[in-house]
Structures are given as structure tokens and as C-alpha cells.
Subunit: 245 residues, 2 copies
Amino acid sequence: MTGQILSPDELEAALRAIGAERYHNLHPFHRALHDGRLTQGQVQAWALNRYYYQCRIPAKDATLLARLPTAELRREWRRRLVDHDGEAPGIGGVARWLKLTDGLGLDRAYVESLEGLLPATKFAVDAYVEFVRDRSILAAIASSLTELFSPTIISERVSGMLRHYDFVNSETLAYFHPRLTQAPRDSDFALSYVREHARTVEQQEAVLGALKFKCGVLWSMLDALDYAYVTPGRIPPGAFWPTCP
Amino acid sequence: MTGQILSPDELEAALRAIGAERYHNLHPFHRALHDGRLTQGQVQAWALNRYYYQCRIPAKDATLLARLPTAELRREWRRRLVDHDGEAPGIGGVARWLKLTDGLGLDRAYVESLEGLLPATKFAVDAYVEFVRDRSILAAIASSLTELFSPTIISERVSGMLRHYDFVNSETLAYFHPRLTQAPRDSDFALSYVREHARTVEQQEAVLGALKFKCGVLWSMLDALDYAYVTPGRIPPGAFWPTCP
């Protein structure tokens, strides 16, 4: 930190630089997933653990929603709940993620039970919800800015997985398609909020720190998967054991 | 879970069985540490990350202390704060841990800044403090029961490290010596509290779940160290970079 106040453009550039260094598209497990180097069992482990992230996102958004001071901000943030929880059973992002775990051959009740999660997944995701509860509203909004970088990773993920794996298809990957429009809409809002409201050095440091924190959440989830499921003999006691090779 | 109420002896046996399966003395990184297979830089990474656990233990204990209903219980739990924070600067478990990081060649201000921590370390330790804040007092006390198993790991750690590493000595490992008497005293209390107060199936399940949770905290910390610092090229962005080979 230089201790200098940044212009909105400089702040945005600093945020994008954090993404360029720390976003999880750079993680070796992500590359292995997209390059077709994982087994179906390893992709199961990824989808099972990532389910916990997906299913806690509405809790994260509701936690922030409860703290927002105006109807305008709450309406904006409420869209995220609609995207994830849908308008009816079977609709929405969490339901679409379960279509992926179904398609990979995982038992839905087992996935929803959360029993096979890596502890590290739970700690990382819970840390995200708690961050949004405990930090400033500005920092909480800034922590969502990883969505600035998600269209790229989603495109890579879908095309790579469809090309390399016969155990997925465009229906089981249906989660990702709406995210290509939802994520930019959401990150446009969050970025313009942050550009407008982070005016002091302290606020700008909090915003940059929030994005680093969130990159750490996503990165550490892939660290844990890579550690547990790529080298044999590393699955921690009690965690999911792949049901296919 | 069988759904049957266990006798106090059966409950204790079930707790000890969890330790036999899940305590981190079984982790490959622990074995590598004690067998002399780590470099000084890898031991630095372990001590630096473990420092965060040490320095949050008083916060964990104070969080529980604040919830305990009687002077008797609070006096019992207060001893843990005295053990860790001492009666004067430079005394107590946290200060002794800093002697270890000093002895390993780490800059004390850097260690205390927490800047180089693995995100997974932070998430795991914070999850422990939050568990103690949010769960029942019975579960919070039960989560300390990993101390039942710590004298063994401490003995292995000290003798193995002294034998294999010329960069530690009995002075830099001074943290561990008092723990050999403190941990059994503390776990005796916690175990007898749990044996007496966990009387329903739900309470016993909460107690067993608390110990599993805590084993997951310790285990995932070693997963993260093993992943980041044993295979080259895995240190996450922003984390500690060893200062010696």
C-alpha cells in the first residue's frame, strides 16, 4: 500500500491486478479440470465440495441484504437471491448445481447432507459468510468482485469439460450458462458501488483486502481438492471417497 | 450414530476412537516433521502458520469464558488464559512460541503481522473460535478434547525434532515442555465435564461431532502446509516464502 488515495480508475486497475495474480483460474487444479486430466471421481469431489459454496451463497447474500440501508440497494442485492434460489423448486443456481452432481453420479441426499465435505471447504466458505457479516458494507460488496473475472473461467470450464469428459454434457453443465450474463451484471453494480464509495485510503485498502480475501477463499478450496484427491492417500478421515475411478 | 444413549465410559471410548482415527499425529506432514524430512524453510512455514493457532487460543478461551455460567467454571477455564498469555510480557505459551519462530530465523514482526499466513490456516483457526462462540457450552468444551491426545504428539515432536534438526534446540522448543503437564490437567477437566453433562443422544452426538470438527481443524492446517510447502510451485499468492533452503 502506498498510502495514496487512488482515483476510481486507479482503484479499478488495482482490483484487476489482484485478479490477474490471485484468481483461481491460475490454480493447477483448475487447469487440470479443464484440460481433461481429472478422473470422474476427482470431478465428483470438485462438484461435491463446490456445492457447499453454491448452497451458502444465498446465505451470504441474505446476510449482506439484511445490512443494506436502502430499498434500492436491497432490491439490487435481492436479484442475487432470485438467481440462486429461483422462484420455484428445481429452479435457480443451487438446483442447477445439483443437476451437475446428479449427472456425475453422486447421490443427491449425500451431496445435500454435506457429510463428505473437506473440512477446508467448510472453513473457507464459512469464512466468506462471516466476512460479509462482520466487515463494512463496502468491504462486503467488494468481496463479491471475483465475479469480474468469472466469465473467463466459466467459458474455459464449460468448453474444456465438454471437450474432454464423456461424463458431462451441456445439460449437466446448465449451471454455468446463466452465470455468463448474471455475473457481469452483478459485478458491474459492485464495481461501480466500490468506485463511488471507496474514497479514503482506509476504505480503498479495505476494498483491496476484501478482494484478496475472497481470492484466498476460492484458491484455498482448490488447494484442498488438489491435495486430497490428486495424490493417492491424502483424503482426510471422514471425507468423500469417490464412487467411480 | 446408533441413536442409543452411551454410558460415560462408552462415550469416552467413542471420543478416544475419534482421536485414534482423526488426530493429526497420523498426518503425513506431522510424520515428515518429526522424521527429519523437512527443510528449515518448511519448518519455518509450519511454525509461522501454527503461530496463528497459538495466538488465537486465548481468544478462543476468552470467548468460552465469557459464556460460562459459574465462577467455578470460569476459574477453571481462566487457567488456560494464564498458561497462554502469562503473567508478564515474555511469559506464557504464545511468547514461548515466538521463541521458536525466532530460533528458526523468522522475523518476529513479520510473524506477528500474520501477513504470510496461508488463507487455509486463517479459515481453520477462525472456524474454531467461531465454533466456541456459536455452539453449546458442552460442544465448545468438547472441542478442546484434542488435548487428550497431545502429550503423545508433543513427545514425538520434541524428540524427533531435536534428533533430526540442527536448527532447533531445547530452548527454542521450550513451548512444548509445560504443555506436557498443562494439557492433561485441562483435558482431565474437559473430559469429566463432558462425561457428566452429555446425557442425551443429541448431547452425545454434539460432543462427538465437536471432537471431529476440531480434529478437522488441526488436520486441515497440516493439509495446507503439506500442499503449499512440500511440492514446489504450490505456495499460494501472497503467502510466506521461506527465507532459507
